[in-house]
């Protein structure tokens, strides 16, 4: 390959072509890197991400009663289920569920049902925590925004929500205290 003044090789590719591609490619990488910084900038910040945990004292909760606690700015439902509610949840045939999941896989102790209280449809908070609330057709929770019904295991039974109410990570510290997160 006889090099000419402008560096043209036998195949017509010049040194200038190479420089243009190299500079253009470097510019594109730089622009993409800068864009990524701006996009990632909008993700949750470190202090937001710092996983806070929430400890809940179960002592004062009577059977049939629910309380709402806050974990990572989200409401968490803690319900002490009655025998009837547990039986109802366990006896539901799995093939009648839009998002099949056995009740046993959703609780650590059958009496205590712990759920993230956010409707899986569009993020409203379902009713059913207070005694006077409408609990829906399946005795669990009812989301007033778009009419999703959840059962006594927090599973979606009817309405537009695609999934069951989520179960947050938690563990029992002792018989009457749990740590969520």
């Amino acid at each position: 390959m006889a090099a000419t003044a402008d560096g043209a090789g036998g195949d017509g590719v010049t040194r200038r072509d190479f420089l243009e591609y190299a500079a253009g490619g470097m510019g594109a990488v730089g622009a993409a890197a800068a864009t990524w910084a701006l996009i990632d900038n909008m993700n949750p910040a470190a202090d937001t991400l710092a996983l806070s945990t929430t400890e809940v004292d179960l002592e004062p909760i009577e059977p049939g009663q629910s309380i709402t606690v806050v974990w990572q700015k989200k409401p968490v439902f803690v319900r002490r289920r009655t025998e009837a509610e547990i039986a109802q949840a366990e006896e539901t045939p799995l093939d009648s569920l839009p998002d099949p999941m056995a009740d046993a896989d959703r609780v650590q102790k059958a009496e205590w049902l712990i759920l993230v209280g956010i409707c899986t449809h569009l993020g409203c908070i379902p009713l059913g925590q207070k005694g006077t609330d409408e609990k829906g057709e399946y005795g669990g929770w009812f989301c007033p925004c778009h009419g999703s019904h959840y059962d006594t295991s927090g599973r979606i039974r009817k309405g537009p929500a695609p999934e069951n109410l989520a179960v947050p990570p938690y563990r029992f510290l002792d018989d009457t205290r749990i740590l969520i997160g």
Partner: protein
């Protein structure tokens, strides 16, 4: 076109260096406007007026508003109670958004009735739909800023729409929020974008007007201008007509601002945001109700979201769905009827969107949703083939003056024909 002669030497001096006066003269005096535009053509300039009103009041409001979850609600209440004339500025801004949508929706239906989206105005139409989308995004984020219950839960529901996207949905929602829920980072970024987007709208409006002035306004007959006798200069004829319309419009607008400032709003938004209590009945602002009804009409989350966005997306391809060569509904006997059915359908969707999702409302909502899409995707393409339009007049002047009268001075008709 030759540059006009200006008498004022200062104007001449400036125009030689920066031809703003030539530009104004060209757009206002030489720009030929169809002489038969009716009052439905007022709504374009009204929309431009409302955009300016919202930007000006918004800039003033920003001087007293605090974008923080602990202070936002109180700072808006302070504007309304303590800041001099803050109540007026806030009422104008709040009701102005509603009236901007009223004006723009009428403007859009005007375009639908008279076929203003047809060749050569497809891009003009598409830019209009882009403006409408930007308006919706801006209005949504603006409604979040007072941080009332409806602000918070509206933001929660709408941002959760994106969680319907398979695989990456949850990450996108968390990215939009900047956290695990709608919270201070969300409020801050919405404020930033709410300030920015109106200026983006101004940019697209400029493109919209450039596209408009390339081929000129459509008109109630939907036919091309045949010559000078079919047009009049924009100024003074349509400037004065626009001002008259503006006067009527402002009268109605002021009735709301001064006597019923909260009529179009929702009382729940005067309750400070509470992330642990969802109001029993969440409704968006009235201008989103038809789309909200479409969202709820479909029992599947992802498909509901897709349908809602498709309801607007279908407008982008409208120029290619309606292949009829006749623009104006005046000469399309069947289209004229289905147009009004579409108007009724949109009103029904709006009504259903305001009602709880239960019982008969669900069925009517589904029916109206199906009809909405059928109008664009089935009826319009079929009409293009099967409808027999009535004969078009030869020119705008013909139905009034009789015959295809040649322009005075004898220059052949069509001499003004623009490319």
């Amino acid at each position: 076109m030759a540059a006009p002669k200006f008498d004022n030497p200062i104007v001449r001096w400036i125009d030689y260096r920066l031809p703003v006066f030539t530009f104004m003269h060209h757009e206002m005096h030489e720009y030929p406007t169809p002489k038969n535009l009716n009052y439905w053509w007022n709504f374009g300039s009204l929309a431009g007026f409302m955009l300016i009103v919202l930007i000006v009041t918004g800039i003033v409001l920003a001087m007293n508003y605090t974008p923080h979850v602990d202070h936002a609600f109180d700072s808006v209440e302070r504007i309304r109670r303590d800041v001099p004339f803050g109540w007026l500025v806030q009422f104008i801004h709040m009701n102005g958004a509603s009236f901007f949508f009223i004006v723009v929706y009428i403007h859009v239906f005007r375009g639908l009735y008279y076929g203003s989206y047809k060749s050569p105005r497809e891009i003009l139409w598409i830019l209009g739909v882009v403006i409408m989308l930007l308006m919706m995004a801006t209005a949504f984020m603006g409604y979040v800023l007072p941080w009332g219950q409806m602000s918070f839960w509206g933001a929660t529901v709408i941002t959760n729409l994106f969680s319907a996207i398979p695989l990456v949905g949850e990450h996108i929602v968390s990215w939009l929020w900047g956290g695990f829920a709608v919270d201070n980072p969300t409020l801050n970024r919405f404020y930033s974008l709410h300030y920015l987007l109106p200026f983006v709208i101004v940019g697209v409006v400029v493109l919209h007007v450039v596209a408009l002035h390339t081929h000129g306004s459509n008109n109630p007959l939907g036919i091309e201008l045949r010559g000078k006798q079919d047009s009049i200069p924009f100024h003074p004829y349509y400037t004065v007509k626009d001002f008259f319309g503006l006067g009527l419009f402002l009268t109605i607008f002021c009735l709301f601002v001064f006597f019923a400032p909260d009529y179009l709003g929702h009382p729940d938004n005067y309750v400070p945001a509470n992330p642990l209590v969802t109001p029993p009945h969440i409704v968006p602002e009235w201008y989103f109700l038809p789309f909200y009804a479409i969202l709820r009409a479909i029992p599947d989350k992802l498909l509901g979201v897709v349908a809602m966005f498709a309801a607007i997306a279908v407008l982008f391809i409208l120029p290619w769905l309606d292949r009829s060569p006749v623009r104006s509904a005046r000469f399309r006997p069947i289209y004229k009827q289905v147009f009004w059915l579409l108007v009724i359908d949109c009103l029904v969707l709006g009504y259903i969107g305001a009602k709880p999702a239960e019982g008969w409302y669900i069925h009517i909502g589904r029916l109206a949703t199906v009809y909405y899409f059928a109008h664009f995707l089935v009826i319009l393409p079929l009409l293009s083939v099967f409808e027999r339009p009535r004969p078009l007049p030869l020119s705008i002047g013909e139905p009034v003056l009789g015959g295809g009268s040649p322009p005075p001075g004898g220059a052949g008709g069509g001499a003004m024909e623009r490319a």
